[in-house]
Amino acid sequence: MVHEETAYESLVHAHGDEGHWVFGTGFDDPLAGVDTSVPPGVDRADLGAYCLMLGDDALVLSQRLTEWITRAPELEEEVAIGNIALDLLGQARLLLARAGSVGELGRSRSLATGSVPDEDALAYFRDADEFRCTPLVEEPDGDFAHAMVRLLVASSFRLAVLARLRGSRDPVVAAIAAKGVNELTYHRDHAARWVLRLGDGTDESHRRAQRAVDAIWPLTAQLFTATGVERRLVAAGVAVDPSSVRDEVRRVLAEVLARGTLTAPPEPPDAEPAGRSGEHGPALTELLSTLQGLARRHPASTW
């Protein structure tokens, strides 16, 4: 243990960086040192679109979780939600940077000035119809039960997908997935613990948790339907077919719900993955206007 007096001296005479950077806050290119060449036989546009799907899910859910900061039930929960939001933001940055590196920038690059990095051009200068996230991550949280049930469903799905993506032929996607699996294991565990406590807590918490489950289940209708991009990339050894994780995800959710004395609603019939091709409700537009407003008012600025 550091002696108090020594620490005091080191603070008074502090110099140099002491390695306190939290992941995702560094100044470096997030893909520095990783081979970013596209494997042979992989379509660059498909790879870019796929990275946007994975990245936008993470970015939008991170933003929804961040809405809880200063509003969470306990200080421990402020810290935990902050951690999870930071992890997802870190994943989003890597995935958006990957999409940019293979040229998937769409209209955003012409709106953002040259000094804006690709990850920011994509996050701040695309409109809702260019976002490829799934409806599950878009809706605002009514209460803490909604936040935790949604996190449980979203992290169960994402963990199942990323676990398989560790073997992706794209080295960048594989590296992002390998890092993300550890993070998502914690996210899912955290959410599951809360769903148990809320489901099997008081009458009121049970009622709210069941209401959240009932509201969120229909939002999973698009989750397990593959897009054309995904089907082509599955054939190329890059992507995961979301329908292949359905059983695993449903099994995990059924177990948590049962232990939390909650009832799983009937599974919604599979729907076309409209969110993945840019069709979204008003919730996403509203979220983006908050996220993007300042950056768009100063398109020539660097921060």
Partner: protein, 324 residues
């Protein structure tokens, strides 16, 4: 705030304990939770540490207001990590008060009911993204000046919490300054945002050191107890001396026409702080007092059902495990 009431004279069997306590302080050793301590020492520490904890938690709000709108993903990550650190600081500090017999929920109630204070600086609004940088540079900078000496506080758990907190705060300060450097290298509009933020935060930052020594009733006793190490005015001067060259390097003007270098004394002399404003803000009439407390109250009240659920779940499962 009332001064701590003088301790009643120790009972005969406490005389030896009191002597041991005073010898520990005189030798610059630490008082630990299980050691005997005078009631006034305990009460003063709880008040000071709780006020510090409340400041960390309320202090999440002014910058937290920019979390959703941060203008780049990197800035969002930096700010999110910082606000999360502040929640962590609040946790360590409330834990330190618990080693003195206080209860976090009770202290939170006192904050919400206005019976305990927090740093008045957080009652000002954050009007532009430059405020995030200026808070890091000036507000965290002032906090570090206040807090580094507390790493040598006579109370062990507080001193140890302060070491970790100061390391993180000094990191936040550098991040804030780095944001301002970036903005000053940016557009004319960005430079104007930085200057405007400095104009608004400079004087409130000087108020963070508390009232002038002549008007600081608790200082003498706290210094005698080793809870406080320097007077308010000493720390304020140290902060000004440290900050003026940083402002010059940054290229911003500090809004004080009387600011001048005193070569003989080796200090920057500065103008009079508006202590009436300080008193208004600390007594609840700052621009954001009501908003800050309302947010904290809502976090407690709107989520009370969550806390109740967690307790009910723990009780049920304790019973089931005992029965199994």
């Amino acid at each position: 705030m009332p001064a701590p009431t003088p301790d009643r004279p120790p009972a005969p069997d406490e005389t030896a304990l009191q002597e041991h306590f005073e010898a520990t302080i005189a030798a610059e050793h630490r008082i630990e939770p299980r050691d005997w301590m005078p009631e006034g020492y305990r009460r003063t520490l709880v008040r000071q540490i709780a006020q510090h904890a409340h400041s960390e938690i309320i202090g999440m709000q002014p910058e937290g207001d920019w979390l959703l709108a941060a203008p780049s993903l990197r800035r969002k990550a930096i700010l999110l990590a910082k606000v999360q650190d502040e929640a962590g600081h609040g946790l360590y500090l409330y834990s330190a008060t618990e080693t003195l017999g206080a209860d976090r929920a009770d202290l939170t109630d006192k904050l919400i009911e206005g019976r305990q204070k927090y740093s008045s600086i957080f009652n000002y609004p954050t009007l532009s993204y430059a405020d995030v940088g200026v808070i890091g540079w000036l507000v965290d900078g002032a906090a570090i000046c206040n807090q580094v000496p507390l790493c040598r506080s006579s109370y062990g758990p507080y001193a140890r919490a302060m070491i970790r907190i100061c390391k993180e705060e000094s990191f936040h300060q550098r991040q804030g300054y780095e944001l301002l450097m970036t903005m000053m290298r940016g557009t004319e509009e960005q430079r104007a945002m930085v200057q405007d933020a400095v104009d608004r935060w400079w004087w409130p930052s000087l108020m963070m050191f508390g009232p002038p020594d002549a008007d600081s009733p608790n200082t003498a006793q706290s210094m005698a107890w080793g809870i406080k190490r320097h007077t308010n005015d000493e720390l304020r001067q140290r902060f000004v001396d440290m900050t003026v060259p940083q402002a010059q390097f940054l290229g911003v003007a500090l809004p004080d026409p009387e600011l001048a270098w005193d070569a003989d004394a080796g200090h920057w002399r500065f103008g009079a702080v508006d202590w009436d404003e300080f008193k208004r803000v600390i007594s609840g009439q700052g621009p954001m007092n009501d908003v800050r407390i309302a947010r904290r109250r809502a976090a407690r009240d709107d989520n009370a059902w969550v806390t109740e659920a967690a307790s009910a779940y723990a009780r049920k499962h304790a019973v089931r495990e005992a029965a199994a």
